[in-house]
């Protein structure tokens, strides 16, 4: 389920009518208040593990992550971190909590976890094939193997990990971290068929599997057919193919002058890799304006820190060659023009084309799915873009026993989405094998527990840190550029990790209001540092949003509305910038407010096997 499609808790607020009291029994209402967890595709209980880090409970913090996102050490370095732009701290001050880097702290400082691994049930006689050994398939295997399924993982590569191994460079993700987290799953008794190129889905189905999961990713890099392309084939490289060949040790040099085409994360990995293989003058050249580059801001920063120049608004025109050798690329200069609807076009500036000399070109302008090995006559439907038709909830294709997930399902995304898909597909496969309806899903497991310990004591730290986001220390640049295996980011040490963890606002410790206890004394209104709370006459939502103390302009943030109070007014709390400091509850004379920790765990395959 995409979080944004869900408008929890509000009930049906018909236009023009007063707001209904918020239904806080809808688990999605408080879930949405935990901005990071809501934004995380796997709904990792972020504040819960951040508190554990602050308490030095690294192993516990690691396990909370491992349950949700399977690869804490890997993701703590590489996650696309959709949680961070969502973090409340962005709205309160400026920079989010360094959620991703804290995950790495848990992984770096944890103790032994072998004894915490799930017990593997005795074989249940079911056999599941996972095609592709990337994070999506590994998640399916992780969820199903402990339930007694016999899982077989196929990959054409020699080891598991998928693009986490073949694409993500070792200077961002050390091989030891990758091996450890991948092997942990393979050790659950997974049968591996590596070095095996699957060329026919039918033949896999013929082996009599109870279900087949396709997690083959989006393995094809986009080509660029402009004049000169074929003539310079020797020095023209598709980015992801080139990165794979570097990762597997087939390529270890590159020309002195390198042009990288494209503005996404693959381009950033290409240019940084080129700098480590002998490139001296490495340029990234993008069509779009700088602000529209697809790469994550931190990846762009990392590239720039390594003296890589990024040129924007240049559209490649031609590969220039002499005597069969690439000598450079010409570009048309463009500028962005926006029409009334805000759509952007790139319009030539009319200037002379720009020429940049180079020895190698790395082309990183996109990735595609490619399923030549899936027969089109076995009841598995493909749409007009030649993508399999896959259900967004169950992840089942139109073939009853074939499921898709990760980049193979809906096009290239990232690891955490692959994991989220894998969890859901595992649930579906388990339901299929148990003969249950796939579209019925188990509700999340939630608890809501008061944190009150004394008059004004809470079992969470409610003193708000005013520290700014801490930077992660980096390895010495000259050393890092000289060694392709040297990890650039060193990670927080325990002290920095603690200080950063204290920046978390504990958004899962919810302000819970009990209308019947309130005497409308205004104490909470007066004390709230961010003016969240109001006692006001009810009105339709758009009006209420305008009438409260500070108008609630961010409609993605909900209003928490109480039942009618004795004066006829209602309590309206704008969730937007609440600091979860608990002062409202501390200053409330009747305990109408309480601070309750809301733990939300997405249902996994294992929960439904234990359930009724």
């Amino acid at each position: 389920m995409s979080p944004d499609e869900h408008r929890p808790g509000a009930g049906a607020n018909a236009p023009g009518t007063h707001m209904r009291p918020t239904d806080i029994t809808d688990p999605q209402y408080f879930h949405k208040v935990v901005d990071c967890q809501w934004a995380c595709p796997a709904h990792t209980p972020v504040p819960e593990y951040i508190r554990m880090i602050a308490q030095g409970r690294y192993t516990d913090a690691y396990m909370v992550n491992w349950e949700s996102n399977v690869f804490p050490g890997i993701l703590g370095r590489t996650c696309d971190r959709p949680c961070e732009p969502a973090c409340r701290r962005v709205r309160v001050e400026d920079k989010p909590v360094a959620i991703c880097r804290l995950k790495r702290v848990a992984a770096d400082y944890r103790g032994d976890i072998e004894h915490l691994m799930p017990e593997i049930a005795s074989p249940n006689g079911r056999r599941i094939a996972c095609i592709g050994g990337g994070p999506a398939s590994l998640t399916v295997a992780r969820d199903l193997a402990p339930l007694g399924y016999h899982v077989v993982v196929y990959d054409r590569d020699a080891k598991g990990g998928g693009m986490m191994r073949s694409q993500i460079p070792a200077f961002r993700l050390p091989q030891s971290v990758l091996d450890e987290e991948v092997d942990r799953i393979l050790d659950f008794g997974i049968e591996t068929r590596f070095d095996t190129d699957v060329t026919s889905l039918q033949s896999v189905l013929d082996e009599g599997y109870d279900a087949v999961f396709v997690g083959t990713g989006a393995p094809r890099g986009r080509d660029l057919q402009i004049p000169g392309r074929d003539e310079v084939a020797e020095n023209f490289h598709i980015g992801i193919d080139w990165l794979m060949s570097v990762a597997f040790g087939h390529t270890d040099t590159v020309g002195r002058r390198v042009i990288v085409l494209g503005g996404g994360n693959t381009a950033m990995d290409c240019c940084r890799t080129a700098m480590r293989l002998g490139g001296e003058d490495v340029k990234v050249i993008v069509r779009s304006p700088f602000e529209e580059m697809k790469a994550s801001p931190w990846e762009i920063e990392d590239a720039q820190r390594e003296d890589i120049e990024i040129l924007n608004n240049h559209v490649p025109l031609e590969f220039v060659h002499e005597n069969g050798r690439l000598v450079g690329v010409t570009f048309e200069k463009v500028r962005p023009v926006y029409d009334d609807t805000g759509r952007r076009r790139l319009v030539p500036t009319g200037e002379e084309p720009a020429f940049f000399p180079c020895d190698d070109v790395l082309c990183a302008i996109g990735q595609e799915n490619h399923f030549p090995w899936i027969e089109r006559d076995i009841g598995l439907e493909f749409d007009k873009w030649d993508m399999p038709v896959v259900d967004r909830v169950t992840f089942r294709s139109t073939h009853p026993r074939v499921f898709f997930g990760g980049d193979a399902a809906f096009g290239p995304e990232n690891i955490i989405w692959a994991v989220a898909h894998g969890h859901q597909a595992a649930i579906s496969i388990d339901r299929l094998c148990e003969g249950r309806d796939l579209s019925e899903r188990l509700a999340p497991h939630v608890t809501l527990v008061s944190q009150k310990m004394g008059m004004h004591e809470w079992s969470y730290h409610n003193m708000i840190s005013e520290d700014q986001r801490y930077l992660v220390p980096h390895a010495d640049k000259a050393l890092a550029l000289g060694d392709i295996r040297m990890e650039v980011e060193l990670g927080f040490d325990e002290r920095l990790g603690f200080d950063e963890a204290m920046r978390c606002l504990n958004c899962d410790v919810q302000t819970v209001f009990e209308t019947g206890r309130c005497i409308e004394c205004d104490a909470c209104v007066d004390v709230c540092p961010v003016d969240c709370i109001n006692f006001i006459n009810n009105a339709p939502e758009p009006e209420l949003r305008q009438q409260i103390r500070v108008p609630a302009l961010d409609e993605s943030q909900d209003l928490y509305v109480s039942d009618d109070l004795p004066t006829g007014r209602v309590m309206v709390k704008d969730e937007d910038v609440c600091l979860h400091c608990g002062l409202c509850a501390e200053r409330c004379p009747t305990a109408a407010w309480d601070m309750k920790k809301f733990l939300y765990h997405e249902a996994k395959a294992q929960n439904q096997r234990l359930g009724p």
């Binding site: 003016d531 910038v577 009747t590």
Partner: protein
């Protein structure tokens, strides 16, 4: 009492006044009063009023006596001058300070015990003298700080927390202030800031003695059933006679009201008060009628709130004493020392 300090983070879209300050800039230290104490709401109303008036905090002095109420100046306007005096003696400190430096705005905060018992004499004479200040009584009918004895403002019918009878007649400080010649008298309720904030703004702007009796429930000792100073009782029995809108001088009045229902009053700084009569019988310019009205309603068990009496014509203490318009602390030797001729003339007149 909260042990954490209030986070400095404020709402990113919190409005700023003409000084570039937010409401939060007018706050003080974290309150140590009981959670839910009405006094904290009065502090918040003072903060709001000063913010909206664009007052520079360092040009204001806050004074108080002893009591929970008298502790509150610590919890607002941390950048202002302050004097926490002894029990019942705030009025004389304010009088002295006001005479010495007329350039500051004076806000006195007191309690019903501090004012109506030990400080009654001081209070009476500050009113009579028309000291130019805002005098706020946070009236909860009890001695909160000393654990809940009846105060002199507790209504005779109002019983104690354990059902104790109150043997004595109550003093109505607002009525008393009208009788003693205050030029601005109002009654508010800590649970109604929509009414209280404009009253404080008007009182701060008024020249002369401005008195606001704010009913401010003590949640710990006097908020029970049977008390006439509880949130519930006041909400049920409040009778507001005059709604007060404070209109800054640069703004024009846009709302229109029925003829005769509105009184516009211009204050000393050219700002206006727009008074809307909620009871057509009420005339805030008639002290005798006002006192009669309040007592009538009181006899019926009602609590009259709003602006009760206003006289913008009377002089303040310094005017009455024909004092210089300059603060005394700014007068140098030349201004203070009479010339030999003047001295001689005085001496001659006394021989």
């Amino acid at each position: 009492m909260s042990f954490v300090s209030k986070p400095r983070f404020h709402h990113p879209r919190l409005p700023r006044n003409s000084l570039g300050l937010t409401r939060r800039d007018y706050e003080g230290a974290m309150s140590t009063l009981c959670a839910g104490c009405g006094h904290d709401s009065v502090s918040a109303a003072i903060v709001e009023a000063c913010f909206e008036l664009d007052l520079p905090a360092h040009r204001l002095a806050k004074l108080s006596g002893i009591g929970c109420s008298s502790k509150t100046p610590t919890y607002f306007l941390s950048k202002s001058h302050g004097f926490n005096s002894v029990h019942g003696r705030m009025a004389s400190v304010a009088t002295g300070a006001n005479l010495a430096n007329c350039d500051l705005t004076y806000v006195g905060v007191s309690g019903d015990g501090d004012t109506a018992s030990i400080g009654l004499g001081q209070f009476a004479h500050a009113v009579r003298r028309q000291v130019d200040m805002l005098y706020v009584v946070e009236n909860n009918g009890t001695y909160g700080l000393t654990k809940g004895q009846f105060s002199a403002t507790n209504d005779r019918v109002s019983v104690g927390r354990k059902g104790q009878r109150n043997a004595f007649e109550a003093i109505d400080l607002a009525v008393m202030a009208i009788q003693l010649g205050a030029s601005f008298v109002a009654r508010g309720f800590s649970g109604d800031k929509d009414q209280l904030v404009p009253l404080i703004k008007a009182a701060l702007t008024h020249k002369g003695f401005a008195f606001i009796d704010v009913i401010s429930p003590c949640v710990t000792f006097n908020n029970h059933y049977g008390s006439t100073k509880s949130f519930e009782f006041v909400r049920d029995h409040e009778h507001s006679v005059l709604a007060t809108d404070y209109v800054p001088y640069h703004e024009t009045i846009t709302a229109s009201y029925a003829e005769g229902e509105v009184i516009d009053v211009t204050l000393h700084n050219q700002c206006r008060l727009r008074l809307r009569k909620l009871d057509s019988d009420y005339d805030p310019g008639d002290p005798v009628g006002a006192v009669r009205y309040i007592m009538d309603r009181q006899a019926q068990g009602e609590v009259v709130t709003g602006l009760l009496y206003l006289d913008t014509g009377d002089e303040d203490l310094r005017g009455k004493l024909e004092m210089t318009s300059r603060p005394l602390n700014s007068l140098d030797e030349d201004a203070l020392r009479p010339s030999p001729e003047v001295l001689e003339a005085i001496n001659v007149s006394l021989r």
